[in-house]
Each structure stands twice: as structure tokens, then as C-alpha cells.
Amino acid sequence: MTTSAISQNGFLRFIRRIPPVYFFLILVFVGGAILDVTFADGQMVTNPTILTNILVRSVALGIVAVGQTFVIIGASIDLSVALVVSVTAVMTSFIMQGDPAKVPLAIGVVLAIGVVTGMVNGFIITKLKVNAFIATLGTTLILRGILNASFANFKGSVPRSFEYFGYGKIGPVPVSILALLIVLLAGWFILARTKYGFQLYGTGGNVEVARLSGLRTDRVLIIAHIISSLTAVLTGLFLVSRLRAGAPWIGTDGVYDLESVATTVIGGTALAGGKGGVWGTIGGVLIFSVIDTLFNQMGVNPFMKNILRGVIVILAVASYTIRSRREAA
């Protein structure tokens, strides 16, 4: 990408390859900065801590949105991510109980939960032929039932050493941002450089054609769902390391289901599947973080925040779908 920027022609081509969401991001950031300087203390542009916080705020949503991008490219959807985040957060702190020796056990257990959830989702969708939305809604309800029946409040805690994931820094760079970057690069690599990536685009583009040309589409989709659940587990681990203990409402309060879908769509991944990528998605995530930070700067009422979030999700998605010729349902 950097080599193409050398010549004038190559530079234009590079610009054109940037997902349009980044121009929106610049627009939102400049608009937000102007609002912040005019109506609040203007720290959004002057205070580096707040600038870094925009990125840290992006970590939780960003990681899970990468997984969501995978399933949406496969023309599926995963609404169970919010509950997987909650289950991970609760189970992690419940198993660890502040004991550093139990960290590997806890991580192993939640990763296993993630793999199983993803496999169950993928299996219900591909083998039982249940609509992806309903299937993952169903697993959401099942997870929620079990979780709420077992835990009512913050349970256990994570040891100090585990908080490194949420608060640690390598030099000036927070560990969490590095983690997001690694997930992003891994996501990009799988989608753009591996055989599996091409299979996923093929399956999402037209499942019948992909199947007839010899792809094992069921397996491709099941793997996409496992990836999605695993990213939700990572988000859960990050959140519990920041909050120091897990509660059952962490995932649902963060609206990770709706927001991960919305940021993916804003980033240019079509809900119909077959196209898109993680770089667009992270642009959408950054937009949400900038807006969130702006709300905090301006001291917006928390209930009002939810109202505005609803409006922004709808408008942002509309700016992409309005040009499509197909009737939505």
C-alpha cells in the first residue's frame, strides 16, 4: 500500500481504496471537535489522554466487530455476541476469584465456551436450516436464562496481574490497543490472504454457487461463527480486566450485538454478504467511540445517550443502504 503512494496515479488509487467510512470518521471527528471547543472544554483535541481513550473505548467494540464482520461477510449474523461477552466476564472473574494461578484455567474455560457457542450457532444455522437471526437470538435467550439463573451480581474478581490486559502499557502504547491491532491484522490476513477467506467471500456471495463449485459451505459458516464467538470472548476478557469483576449485564448494557452489526454495516460490509472487510468495520467503530467521547465531554444525560445512539445507528446504516435497489425486509 505504501509503495503505491509514490506516483500521483498510484496515490489516487490508494485514496480510492480507502473505505468511505474514513471520510465520515474525519467529518465526525472535526464536527465533534468543533462542538467540544464551542460548548465544552475542548479537551477532545488538546488532551492526549482523552485522545487515547477514544482508542481504548474502541477496543471492546472493535474486537467483537471484527468477528461480526466475518459472519456478515458469510451472509449470516451473530446476535449472541453480547451474551457471550457477559458469560465470559462473569465466568472469568468467578473462576479466578482473585487468584493469579487460576488465570490459565479461566481463560481456557471461556475460550471453550466461545468455541462451543460458535459451533452450536453454526450447526443450528447450517444443519437445522434455521434463519441466522433467529438461531443466534435463540442461543442468546438460552445463555441469558442460564446466566441469570446462576449469577445475579458481580461475582469474584480478577487478580492484579490480569488487569494488565486492560490497563497495562508497553512504552506509551496501551496493551489493549495492541491487542485490538493484532486482532485486526489477523482478521485482515485471514480474509484477504488465506484460502479460508476466499471461501468465506464465496459462501456469502452466493451459497448455492459456492456449494456447487465444491466448497463445504456449512463448514465455512460454522468456522465463521466460531471466530465470531471467540472475538466476543476476547472482548469479555478485556472488559473484565478493566472492570476487575464480571456482572451478567456487561454485554447487554454495552449493546454489543446491535452495535457490532451496525459498525460492520457502516464499514461497508453488506448485510447480504459476500463483500466487505475489517478495515471498514474499525472505521465504523472509531466513529462510535468519537461520538461516545463527545457525549461524555458535553455531559449528555445517559438516557439521552441511548436515544441518540438509536438515531445514529439508524441514520448511519441508512447512509449505506439508501442507495441499494433491492427492497429491504
Partner: protein, 334 residues
């Protein structure tokens, strides 16, 4: 079915064949409902009385109304996930508007109905003209409507519902011949069911909804005004959510979490009642019994002593099972 001694065996066989054909036509939801309801009745003798059955029906009526609305949208190929928030909005908003004054009960309900129509219009127009899938639109609306309710009330609604507001949800007609007490909520549900039956099964509009759900492009080409019909389906759904909200508020009083998850219950009820997800199929009576079945099942879980959150888990299993069953049986037909 008169029994004659001269019936020969082949006639008998054909008669049984005809009866069997009739039995096979009965949707599975009815035997399932009666099996669950009779189990509940055996475990809890309260349900063996006329009074107990009416108490059950009164409690199930709001869900049945929600399920009818949800089915209209499902049949057209969409989802309405803003229903539960709408119920919360009606309950919280009514408590703000009423301010404990009985005079304001009817105007309050009127205003809420207008809000319902407005929300339905926004849902439908956004889906139709911005071409956003309804699941995203109505999930966004879920956040928005609940946010407005909480913002308006500051998170904690004050006051109480006046008796003339609550009567719709918990009142009874006394001394009705044969029945004794007859719940007002049940009557409202039945009136809605009859209207919905004619709208959905007997009118052009109903056929157009099904046509859109079955194949948008084909119905468009044959002259169905897709956007209008689809928008109306969302308006009906939101309007019925308002009515269900008034009934639930009357039944349970003021609370900010009555509506939580109701949209999923409505989808579940509609799905077990045989409304095909992603459109093209639906039946008003079946969906009502879908709602009754769900309510009876919740009662059963309660009687078995399972903790409340398991309601969610069971519901999740039911939705997946019902949709998988529908997918399986339609594949078999092909």
C-alpha cells in the same frame, strides 16, 4: 357421525380415513396447547375452575395481541423488535401524562395510540425508503423508544394508575350468564382477533402482506404497493403494542421493565403458532394459541419450581425448535 349397524367395513374404513385426514389438518399447536394446559390444570387445581381459566386467559391476552401484531410484520418478511420498548413507553408515559387524575385516562390512551401509529410509521417508512433491514431499524427503535421513556421519567416514574385506566387490564364484567366473571382484557383481545382475522384472511391487504413476504419482486410486478402495505403492517404492530401496553399496565401497575423481552415472546408465540419467519405464512387463530401455549408453558415452569430466568432459556429452545421444525417440514414437502 351416526352409527348404523349396517355399515360395512369398507365404509367404516373410508370414514376413519376422512376423520384422520381432518385430524391431520389440525395444526400441531392445538394438541400441544391442550396437553400443556391440562398438565398445568392437574398440577394446580385453580385452573380447573371457570374462574381460573379466565384468570389465565386475562393474563395471556396482552401477549396474544402482541403476537397478532408481530405476525403481521413477520408475514410481510420483517421483524418488529421495538414492541417490548413500546409497551414500556406506554406504561411509563401514561404514568407521566395521567398524573393521578382519572379525568385524563382516556385522553392519555388516545395520545399513546397516536404515538404508536407514529412509531409504526417511522419503522415502516425507514424500512421502505431507507432500505434498512427491519431488524436493525426496530432494534434501533428499541433503544430509542426506551430511551425516551426513561429520559422523560428520569428513570423512575412516579404516581399510580387511576382505577379507570387499570380497568382495561384487570377488570371483569360481573354476572355474565354462563361464564360468571368475564375479563375485559379478554374481550378486547377477542375483538382485535376478529378484526385481525378479517383483515389478514379475508381482505386484499392480508393477501398482499403474504405476497410480499413470499416474493417481494413478484408482488411488486403484479402491482402490489409494497411500501404502503409494509408500512401499514408496522403501524398495526406498533398500535397493537400500545393496546397491549395499556392492558399490561392495568394488570401489573407501573414498572420500567414490563416490556423487556416481550418482543421476543411475541416472536416466539407467532413462530410456534406457525407464522413462517421471513414471510409468506401466518394465521390469526393459530398465533393466538401460540401465545396461550407460551403463557401456559411459563405457568408450567413456574409450577415445576424452576427459577424465573429459565423462562428465557426455554423460550430460546422453543424458537429454534419451532423454526427448525418449519424448515424441516417445508423441505419434506418439496
Amino acid at each position: 357421525m351416526t352409527t348404523t349397524t349396517t355399515t360395512n367395513s369398507s365404509q367404516l374404513a373410508s370414514m376413519f380415513g376422512a376423520i384422520w385426514a381432518l385430524i391431520k389438518k389440525i395444526p400441531p399447536i392445538y394438541p400441544i396447547f391442550f396437553a400443556i394446559f391440562i398438565t398445568v390444570g392437574i398440577l394446580n387445581p385453580n385452573y380447573q375452575t371457570m374462574n381460573g381459566i379466565f384468570v389465565f386467559l386475562r393474563r395471556a391476552s396482552p401477549l396474544a395481541i402482541l403476537a397478532i401484531g408481530q405476525m403481521m410484520v413477520l408475514a410481510s418478511g420483517g421483524f418488529d423488535l421495538s414492541m417490548g420498548s413500546m409497551v414500556t413507553f406506554v406504561i411509563v408515559g401514561s404514568s407521566m401524562l395521567l398524573s393521578n387524575d382519572p379525568e385524563k385516562a382516556l385522553p392519555t390512551i388516545g395520545i399513546m395510540m397516536c404515538v404508536g401509529v407514529l412509531v409504526g410509521l417511522i419503522n415502516g417508512l425507514t424500512v421502505s425508503y431507507f432500505k434498512i433491514p427491519s431488524l436493525i431499524v426496530t432494534l434501533g427503535m428499541l433503544l430509542l423508544v426506551k430511551g425516551v421513556a426513561m429520559y422523560w421519567s428520569g428513570g423512575a416514574p412516579k404516581g399510580y394508575f387511576t382505577d379507570n385506566f387499570r380497568v382495561f387490564g384487570r377488570g371483569n364484567f360481573e354476572n355474565v350468564p354462563i361464564f360468571g366473571k368475564f375479563p375485559i382484557a379478554l374481550l378486547i383481545m377477542l375483538i382485535i382477533a376478529v378484526i385481525a382475522y378479517f383483515v389478514f384472511h379475508k381482505s386484499n391487504f392480508g393477501k398482499q402482506i403474504l405476497a410480499i413476504g413470499d416474493n417481494v419482486r413478484a408482488s411488486q410486478l403484479s402491482g402490489v404497493r409494497v411500501r404502503l402495505v409494509r408500512t401499514l403492517a408496522f403501524v398495526i404492530s406498533a398500535f397493537l403494542a400500545v393496546i397491549a401496553g395499556v392492558l399490561l399496565g392495568g394488570y401489573g401497575g407501573i414498572s420500567t421493565n414490563v416490556g423487556d423481552g416481550l418482543e421476543f415472546q411475541a416472536v416466539s408465540a407467532a413462530v410456534i403458532g406457525g407464522a413462517l419467519l421471513l414471510g409468506g405464512k401466518g394465521s390469526v387463530p393459530n398465533v393466538i394459541f401460540g401465545a396461550f401455549t407460551l403463557e401456559a408453558l411459563f405457568n408450567l415452569l413456574n409450577l415445576l419450581g424452576l427459577p424465573k430466568p429459565y423462562k428465557d432459556a426455554v423460550q430460546g429452545l422453543i424458537i429454534i425448535g419451532a423454526v427448525a421444525y418449519a424448515a424441516f417440514s417445508t423441505r419434506k414437502k418439496r
